[in-house]
């Protein structure tokens, strides 16, 4: 069954309207996609998920599954599957009883119930310990049980609240892939909440980046990483060096001037930019190349990470936007052989096609066709 989720100008307030957590948020989640709500803690992502689930009341606007408004439908009648951060496996039931639990509230023949339980337990690979009590399962196994339990009821939507945050790094990658595979196989519309940007990039069809209850940008992982809509997104997802700069415009020829007199010719800047306009330039560590001219920097330290070498550098005063004067760049050990030592002075040139440019307040991208959400 295909389900789209429409979130239309919803408001979340606490304390009789004195505290507004979500001031009016709209999103459209497509059928069958894995849609991630990403943001720092306190940004309202879990609150929004719990509003979709029905655990939090909705103070304004509406949420629809297809055309049905669900605001006043109690949780247990919404037909959702939810996976919790702490798994929430019932400790007094066996693995199989846990998976079967939700089916008991649906009118199903005993035969079908058993079949569906068994099938899903095979899919998530927990069939061999169906009779165990959950306390004897590892974290990864518990997460599989939670996933099976949520999916077996054939919910309209699957809601996942930081499901991987209690697992160790290696398991996280394994289960991440499992979730992704099963979600695609079942084709269920999924809303996924996380604060881990790497996880979001790896798993999602689309991501909504949130801050203070407001959606900053919605897009595919690649688009969000390479063309962030504002400084917040560019620094929250991946690392970015923020450099002070200004626009130099002669007719349609646009250039970005950086501290120390270096300049970058850009062909993808918005037509609204004005000559002399102050800007913030965002350069990712891998978007710097060693050059004969560019931003002067002194290497402070280097960290060898195998595939990459990671350098911390110090720029001249007033080069870096905001406070501080340090920056980061990485060198691909497979591509370069130049050995750089702490104390070396060098020049770093940004790659014109890759870097991003923002208004000086950091709120709006000046790259053509990149818009803040809303």
């Amino acid at each position: 069954m295909s389900v789209e989720i429409h979130i239309d100008n919803v408001v979340k307030q606490y304390d009789n309207g004195n505290i507004t957590v979500i001031p009016g948020l709209s999103l459209d989640i497509k059928d069958g996609e894995l849609f991630t709500l990403l943001g720092p803690s306190g940004c309202g992502k879990t609150t929004l998920l719990r509003m979709i689930a029905g655990f939090n009341s909705i103070e304004g606007g509406e949420i629809r599954f297809n055309d049905e408004v669900i605001n006043d439908i109690p949780t247990h009648k919404r037909n959702i599957g939810m996976v919790f951060q702490n798994y929430a496996i019932f400790p007094h039931l066996t693995v199989k009883q846990n998976v079967e639990y939700g089916l008991k509230f649906r009118k199903l023949a005993r035969q079908e119930r058993a079949e569906r339980t068994e099938e899903i337990m095979n899919v998530v690979k927990i069939a061999s310990y169906g009779d165990r009590l959950p306390e004897r399962l590892s974290g990864g196994q518990q997460q599989r049980v939670a996933l099976a339990r949520a999916i077996v009821i054939h919910p309209h939507v699957l809601l996942m609240d930081e499901p991987l945050s209690n697992l160790d790094a290696k398991l996280r990658i394994e289960i991440r892939q499992t979730i992704r595979d099963i979600q695609k196989e079942v084709g269920i519309t999924t809303v996924y909440v996380t604060h881990d940007q790497e996880e979001a990039l790896a798993i999602s069809d689309r991501i909504a980046v949130m801050k203070d209850g407001i959606v900053q940008q919605v897009g595919a992982p690649r688009a969000i990483y390479s063309r962030p809509a504002n400084v917040f997104v560019s620094t929250f997802i991946g690392h970015s060096n923020l450099i002070n700069g200004s626009i130099s415009r002669r007719g349609n020829e646009k250039q970005v001037l950086l501290g120390g007199g270096s300049r970058v010719v850009m062909d993808n800047l918005s037509d609204d930019v004005k000559d002399g306009q102050p800007i913030v330039v965002s350069v990712r560590p891998e978007e710097f190349v060693l050059a004969d001219s560019g931003l002067a920097a002194t290497v402070v330290n280097s960290t060898f990470l195998g595939q990459y070498v990671h350098y911390t550098v110090k720029f001249n005063d007033d080069v870096v936007w905001g406070s501080g004067s340090t920056g980061v760049f990485v060198q691909d050990t497979g591509a370069e052989d130049v050995i750089i030592n702490p104390g070396d002075r060098l020049y770093l040139a940004p790659k014109a096609g890759k870097i991003n440019v923002f208004t000086v307040d950091g709120e709006q991208s000046l790259i053509k066709d990149v818009k803040k959400y809303g």
Binding site: H76, F84, A88, A150, I153
Partner: protein, 551 residues
Amino acid sequence: MAKRWRKPDFWTFITLGIVVLFALFLVYPLLSLFINGFKDSSTGAFTLSNFTRFFEKKYYYQGLINSLMISCCVTVLAVLIGAPLAYFMTAYRVRGKNLIEILIIISMLSPPFIGAYSWILLSGRSGLITRLLEDWFGIVPPSIYGFDGILLVLTLKLFPFIYLYVSGALKKVDASLIEASESLGCSPVKKLFTVILPLVLPTLLAGSLLVFMNAMADFGTPMLIGEGFNVMPVMIYSEFISEVGGQANFSAAMATIMVIVTAVLFMGQKYVVTKKSFTMSSLRPIRPARMQGVTSIAVHAAIYAVVFLATLPQVTVIVTSFLATRGSRFLSSFSLQSYRTVFDSLWDAIANTYIMGLEAIALILMLGMFIAYISTRKKNVLTSFIDMITIFPYILPGSVLGITLLLAFNKQPLLLSGTVIIMIAAYVVRRLPYTLRSSAAILYQISPSLEEASISLGCSPVRTFFKVTAVMMLPGVLAGGILSWITVINELSASIILYTGSTKTMSVAIYAEVIKSSYGTAAAISSVLTLTTIISLLIFFKFTGSREVSA
């Protein structure tokens, strides 16, 4: 934006029901107690004379002083016995530790007045030890009656509270804290006073208050063994009983004074404990060390002596229950005569105790779970009102509660005096806190997401409570429930005021038999009661697989 009206659900009705119950059986009776205290007994006019009479006559205010004095002494002694006992039992290997713990729990949970009664049998005027000393050595031992006797009996009865509290706290002290102090050059004795004692101090204070309150409220012990030594609960009871057909205004005033004293103490303790409290959790508990030589012998001797004295009353009662009697005297031959008398003439008391006890415990378990749930998960104005009300049972001595209920329900349209309902109401109000506290404690450990998971899977919230929450709460509910049950069947101080012929209980019967000097029958019923207590405990231990009773 306008506030949305939440549709009333199952919990709204439960909350309202509980508020009504509390208002009816606690708030309204307490108010009528206070009002009665300010009324003139003949005219019914408002007056302060009941209170001035109390503070003017030495006979009365001496009772309050006596109560405070005895409670202070008992508390100090209980701490001096219970705290070192807990320390040695935790920090060192003690032979027979499991048995000792069970004996301590049993002596704590035995009927409160059995201690007094046994000590009368042992060293009263014609007691076993008294006669032994007189006949063989010609020594007249000090009298067991009065201050000394109350002190002895209550200390032996109440030190287990300190023991259980402190050893619970000691189990949470991480061994690394002690190792840290040793590595910093702290000597063993200094370690005890600079590290361990401060860590368990909040718990020790909480336990001390419990002991103090219990000593202050105890009615049976001073009534049986106090003789001339008057304390508040006894005075309240005798004033109340002697005012035949009167309004009992003076004893209402005395009860009010007592409630105020205990309330002040309770608030003071809460204030101190919240200021001083911290949480501990131990990854690596203290490992018991081995004792050597003389120390080992001395410590073992002391521990066994304390436990022997604490269990002596139970043993005495059970042994004497099998002795043949003539009048109030025990003969040296064995017989089942006392039991025959009990089953012939006092069968009602036994049946009443079980039936009313079961009814009360069923209500207590249900209310305990519901109140714990609404006050942790459904916080609102009404549940905080309920929270506030539930502290009253802590500060209401049993005899005061008895009088309170009787004054409130002795006339139409609320005529309940003499009924089973009023007895059960008293039991529920008095003994609910144990179950409530342990239920709330376990609920805090159950993640709300388990309930949410169930609801998200299509189970309605009410069904979820019974299918998931209640099932997982059960171990915690039972840990307090066992205490509620045992203290319900042993309840004396409220029962003695509320009972009539048809609602007489075992503890009331024991009291009546002791007063009549029918020591044999008293011993036999006491044995039945003690046995019930022990069997209940054993079933509980077996069922839960633990020895954790949450006192």
